[in-house]
Structures are given as C-alpha cells and as structure tokens.
Amino acid sequence: MTRPAPLSAVLAELTAGAPTLDEVARRTGLDRDLVEAAVAHLVRLGRVDSSELSTACPDSACGGCPVSACGARGAPASPGRRPVLVALSVRNDRP
C-alpha cells in the first residue's frame, strides 16, 4: 500500500476547496497537528498564502472610514494576542 505524501495530500485538499483544516485532516486521514505543520511549511514554500483576518483596525490610521477595518487581510492581532482567524489560499500564480 502506498504511503500518503502528507504535504502533497494537504496541498491537494486545499486546492480542492476543503473549508477548514479540520476538514483537511478528515479528508487526508492525517493528524491535525501534522496538517497544521504541513500548511505552515506550504506557506514557507510559497505554495499557500496565509493572511490573518480581523475586522478591527490595529490603530486609528484608516483615514476616512467610519469604523476602522483596515481591509480584510493584513490587520494583525494585537501584540500578545493570537490571531482569531487565518485565511489560507493556494497560490495559483506559480509558473
């Protein structure tokens, strides 16, 4: 029986549109921690984009908008806090 290739399997499920990492773990049969490690490595390899989401503005630098929201991506959690949501997307702009 062929052993699954964890990184490729995770990448394939991300590409196939698995909505959460739990779902990726379920589909691949891999341990959830291993899936997280694989995703972190795919981000390092430039295969997957990762952006921390927040509806809050980290500071009041958003001139002109009434209720902050510095954009969906890139607004990091406050110092010392974990992110509350991370969006991952497979990069399709590779040559």
Binding site: R3, G17, A37, R44, C62, R73, D93
Partner: protein, 691 residues
C-alpha cells in the same frame, strides 16, 4: 542548485562569502569582541568539543542553553553578519564543552539572516568537511574547526512542526542528539511521547528535558557518550512518494519525503489520551461550525447582540435625548437671546442645525459603545471566526467565490475599505462581482437609522427589527450574487480559501476597551465631519425660499421643494413624504447624516415638537401615518429595506469607481436602486394587504 520557489522570500546571498574558518574560532569571536556579554572569554578558542543547539523558535532552546551553561552567556554578532549568537561553556564532570546557541530556525531553507546562519553552520561547513573526507562516525571532539555534535531541540507539544528541522539535520553527516522539551505542555494537551520509539524511528538518541525547571535529564551523559563513541551511520531517509507529487517541484518533493518521515515518527512515538485531539474548543466547534446548527447558533448570537444593544442603551439614549432637546438647546437659545441674536438665521443654524443634528447622533454613543464592545468580545474570543466559516460555507453553497467573503465581512463595518479589500481576489470578474455586492452589507452608519426608526415604531421589539435588517442584508448579498452570476457575470472562476480556526480564548478587557474606543472615536470623527457639513448645506438650502407660502418655510425652501418633487417616487412604498425623501437624499451622501437631517428639518419646521424629549419620534410617526394611509408598520419596514439597499454613500461610490470604473459603478447604482425600490414597494404593498 536548489530551485527557489516563487513567493518565498529567502535571504539574499551575501555579496562575498566569508572565508571558511574553524567553527571553534568563530565561536570565540563574539567573546573576543566583548559585545554586551557577561563572561567574555568563557569559551576558549580550541581544545574543546563544540556542541551546537538548534531548534525552531520558541521550543525552549535558549532555556536549555541557560540550563547547561548556568546562564553564563556571551552574546555577539557572528563574524561577517548582523546575527547574534550566544556562546558558553558546558561543564559536566571533568569535561568542558563549548556550546553555541544558534538562532531559531524552522528549517534549513533559510528565509531570514538568522536561519541562513544556522543553515550555513550546520550544512555548509559539514558538507565541506564531508567532501574533504570527514564522514559520519567517530568525530571525537578536538575542536579542530567543526561542530562536534548538534543537539536539536524539539517540542513534544508541537512535535510535527518542530521535527522538520531535525529531519533535515539528520540528512547531514553530523552526530545528533534530540532534546525534547515541553513535555508538561504536551501532557496537559493529552499528548504522550514515547522517547524510545522516537529514537528508534529517527536513529538518534532522544532525551526528554525540562529546561525551564533546570532539568536536563540524561542529556549530558548522552552527549558525552556520543562524542566519545561516535554515532553509527543513520539509515538513509525513508523515500516517500515524491515522484508522483502533483506539483513536481523539487522543493515540494523533498519536503514531502521529510513529512512522510515525520508522519511515521509522530505516529510511532505519540499517542493521545482519549485517542483524539478534541478538546473543549473543538467540541464547541462541532456545534458552532456545524452545517445546520452553525447558522442557527450564529443567528441566535447576533439576535442576543442586538437585543442587548437596543435594550441596554435605550434608557441612556432617552436621557441624552432629553438633555440635548432640553437644557442644551434651551441654554444655546438663551445665549443667543442674551447676545441679542435670538430668532435669527445664525441661531437657526446652531440650535436647530448643529445642536439638534450633532446632539441626536451623540445620543447613539451608548448604543454604538455597547455594540462595538459586544462585537469585540465575539471577535477576540474567536467566535466571529466560526461565524465566518458558516458564512463562507453558505456562499460556496450558492456558487459564490469563497474569497469574496473576506471583503464582505469588512463591509459590515464600513463599505469603503471593503471595496478596497476586494483586491484580495485574483480574478477580475470575481472582484467585479464582490464590489457590486459590498454595498448590500449593512454598515454601522445605517445602524443609527435602524435603531431610531425601530425604537420609534416597534418599542421593545426594536432589537428584533435591527436583527432582521442584518439577516436581510446577508440574504440580499446572496440573492444579488446569484442574480449577477446568472445574468451579467456568468463566467466566474472559483477561488477557494481555507479558514484556520485558532482555539477560543478569553477576551482581554484592555484590548476590548482599546478596540471599542478606536471604532467609536473613528465613527464619531467621521460622522461628526459629515454631519456638520450636511447640516450647513441643508441649512443653506432651507433658507432659500422658492415657494410663496411662508407658513411652511422649510417645505417651501429649495431643500423641501427638491425633496417634495422626488417624494412621489416613494409613494408606492408608503413613505412618499418630503421629510423621508429628504433624509434619503442626504443618506445618498452619507448614512451618518440621515438622523441629523431629520432632527434638523423637523426642528426647523416643527420646532415645538422637537423641543421636548421624544419629539422627533412623534413627528416621524405622524408623517409615516399620513404617507402610508394608516399602514405605518409596512411603510416603516419598506423604508428600512430601501435604506439598506440603495447607495450606501458617495465615498463608497468613489471607491467603486476606482476599482471597477465608471460604467460598472453606474450599473451598481442602478442595480441597488432598482432592487431597493422593488423590495420596498413589495414589502409595503404585501404588508398593506395583511395589516
């Protein structure tokens, strides 16, 4: 040469490689330079075996360094770099070892100068030696210019992630000992590590340590044993199925081989209490993100938010209303009277315009504070992320691009940055679709109008009505998306995203206060500017008389005449009144000014009513009663639906024009107006039949 994956920002190659020099001498360099160290000269330049500590960031590597060296650390920049490296002496029995605390690294594929240095020391030097004849095996410590042993520090609590570096190091001819930290954290998470099994899988000694408590276990004896006896050749890395790797990339294939090995090691060496990773956070998620229960929970949570917002804020809001319409307005009039300016145009502008308009919006401060606080609690606790999963699933179910939900979430705060946030979508048609959908997300500026109208007409059910408006907002986004997908934008690519849900956490009060204040002050700043400007414009238009009847000066002013001319358009929706139409015209510019414009025009046209608490509500009730022919409830609901659906503000239009051009912006304006008007008319006409 390794291929460089696009997007990976690897550390740039230096202009000139530093000449190879013995590691032991380079270890000594920081001390010799005397950089903010506290034990210069602790590490002699030769004669001692050199042990390097490596590991991912935050695995406890530096704690282990402190534990073995007695926290006698010398810190300095590594020769030719700006990377700080700690060095020290490890005395065990009658032996003394030189220890190097290399910068934290997730892997030997460097993305930073720190990682690059670690890679260079571990790989380049040993590869050079290997090519010169030094192989794996007995490498007794002579300090002759190489690392004699590497202690790779991994975390038992995060074994899969931290093992990657270890597996990479094991591919090189270096004697290796694995030190496993954070066993206590792993145990609390229900993870139990079998060090012996891990050792068998990887072919190197594995030693559990607890450096934070100063416990290094058998590490010293194992290190000395390996230094003295050498390390037998390790088995070659287990070949994985990389040739069939879907992307065929060399980096991915190599990484896949390592992850295959990691998966085998983790599987053999760890087991979980209860057999699964599930904790209370995951158990809550099983409900919060459930395909059926998830949306129900989300709706229930939002219902509670709006109930709390409207009910708790109502008494304070009433008190502030009384304050503004009573003592503040009276005081301002008294001042004008005392200055001999009473009854003039300036008094009208200041008292009926600025005081009434700005004062009315200030009464919403308690409400906004409560709502922003509750949303901050939901966000910081991690619940909003679960709500995002529910929403995302809904969008996918109807065929909308998953990534589109990112800007749409932002739209519930403000539409302007939401339009800019559509740039995350790589496909131009997806961007176009999402930009056209953003205006249907109910921004917080519309909330003030919802609350004023709902509390005026629906009393204790105001929270239900406001909640209903937010649900309708989501429905309108989905239905409009489907409409556009089946008409103007049939060819739409798909672009999925995955949401990673960190565990729930207790919100920090300090953070909640900061977030609430940031949002509230930003709202007041922007709303304040818009309101003052609109009040001045309305006042100016109200003073220009275009009709002969002086008994209704505002109705016959330029403002009233324009509003009255447009009002028949809304008669089928039950709110064909010039006050309501005028407010919607002002709302085209900015929704923040709707309430203020009502307060101003009623204060000028019906001053007696507005100079008592609740006077604005009474005036609104009378006008809706008149314009709807007695069907007040459907007319009010129709008004709210129209307010939700038509153009949010000119700032959003400007942002749309920048992103999708003038033509599509005009299409959007028309689409929003037609949908909003059609829905409003439908609500009123159907409501009229059943009430």
């Amino acid at each position: 040469m390794r291929s460089r994956p696009p997007g990976a920002e690897r550390a740039a190659e230096p202009a000139a490689e530093p000449a190879a020099e013995p590691v032991a001498e380079r270890v000594a360099r920081p001390a010799a330079r005397g950089c903010h160290g506290d034990a210069a000269g602790d590490v002699p330049g030769d004669g001692r075996p050199v042990v390097a500590l490596v590991g991912s960031p935050n695995v406890g590597k530096s704690s282990l360094f402190n534990a073995v060296t007695g926290a006698r650390r010398t810190v300095g920049n590594w020769a030719g770099t700006s990377v700080e490296v700690g060095t020290g002496s490890w005395r065990t029995g009658d032996r003394e070892l030189a220890v190097v605390d290399l910068p934290g690294a997730y892997s030997l594929d460097p993305l930073s100068p720190d990682e690059r240095l670690t890679r260079d020391l571990l790989v380049r030097d040993t590869e050079a030696e290997a090519s010169a004849g030094a192989g794996t095996g007995a490498r007794t410590g002579t300090g002759a210019g190489h690392l004699d042993l590497v202690v790779v520090v991994v975390s038992a609590a995060d074994l899969a992630r931290t093992l990657y570096l270890a597996v990479q190091v094991l591919e090189h001819p270096l004697p290796v000992v694995l030190a496993v930290t954070m066993g206590d954290v792993a145990t609390r998470r229900g993870i139990h590590l079998d060090a012996e099994a891990l050792s068998e899988e990887l072919g190197v000694p594995v030693v559990p340590v607890d450096p934070r408590r100063g416990r290094t276990g058998e590490l010293a004896s194992v290190v000395l044993q390996v230094l003295d006896a050498g390390q037998p050749p390790r088995p070659a890395p287990v070949p994985g199925p990389s040739p069939e790797a879907p992307c065929g990339d060399a980096d991915l294939a190599a990484a896949d081989r390592r992850f295959t090995r990691i998966a085998a090691a983790v599987g053999a060496a760890t087991h979980r209490s209860g057999g699964s990773r599930t904790g209370w956070s995951d158990r809550v998620d099983q409900v919060a993100t459930h395909p059926v229960a998830g949306p129900v929970v989300f709706l229930a949570v939002m219902w509670v938010v709006f109930q709390l917002t409207t009910r708790v804020a109502a008494p304070v809001q009433g008190f502030l209303d009384g304050l503004v319409s009573g003592p503040v307005s009276s005081g301002a009039r008294w001042v004008f009277g005392a200055l001999g300016l009473g009854g003039g145009a300036v008094e009208g502008l200041v008292v009926d315009g600025l005081v009434a308009g700005v004062g009315m919006v200030l009464t919403f401060v308690p409400l906004m504070t409560i709502m922003f606080s509750l949303l901050a609690v939901l966000e910081d606790s991690g619940y909003l992320a679960r709500a995002a999963v529910v929403t995302d699933r809904l969008m996918r179910a109807v065929g909308l691009p998953g990534k589109a939900f990112l800007p749409l979430i932002v739209g519930f705060g403000c539409n302007v940055p939401a339009v800019s946030a559509t740039r995350v979508l790589p496909d131009a048609r997806q961007r176009l679709l999402t930009v056209l959908l953003v205006p249907f997300t109910s921004c917080s500026a519309r909330l003030t109008v919802y609350v004023l109208v709902a509390s005026t007409f629906f009393g204790r059910h105001a929270g239900d009505v406001v909640f209903g408006m937010y649900v309708l907002s989501i429905v309108m986004v989905i239905l409009t998306g489907l409409l556009l997908r089946s008409t103007l934008l049939r060819r739409l690519g798909t672009e999925d995203l995955v949401l990673d849900l960190p565990r729930y956490q207790l919100p920090l009060p300090r953070l909640l206060v900061a977030v609430t204040w940031t949002r509230l002050s930003a709202f007041l700043r922007t709303a304040g500017g818009i309101i003052v400007a609109s009040v001045v414009v309305i006042w100016a238009l109200s003073t220009v008389q275009v009709g002969g009847d002086r008994s209704e000066p505002v109705r016959n002013s330029a403002y009233g005449t324009i509003a009255a001319a447009a009002s028949p358009l809304f008669a089928p929706a039950g709110f064909g009144d010039w006050h309501a139409t005028g407010a919607l015209m002002v709302g085209f510019v900015a929704k923040e000014a709707v309430v203020a414009s009502w307060a101003q025009t009623y204060a000028t046209s019906e001053p007696a009513d507005l100079r008592r608490p609740g006077g604005l509500g009474d005036s609104l009730r009378a006008d809706f009663e008149r314009s709807s022919g007695g069907h007040v409830v459907p007319a009010v609901l129709a008004f709210l639906v129209f307010l939700l659906g038509y153009t949010p503000c000119v700032a959003t239009l400007a942002a749309q024009r920048r992103e999708i051009g003038t033509r599509w912006t005009l299409v959007g304006i028309g689409l929003q107006f037609v949908l909003a008007w059609t829905l409003a008319v439908a609500v009123f006409q159907i409501g009229r039949l059943i009430t």
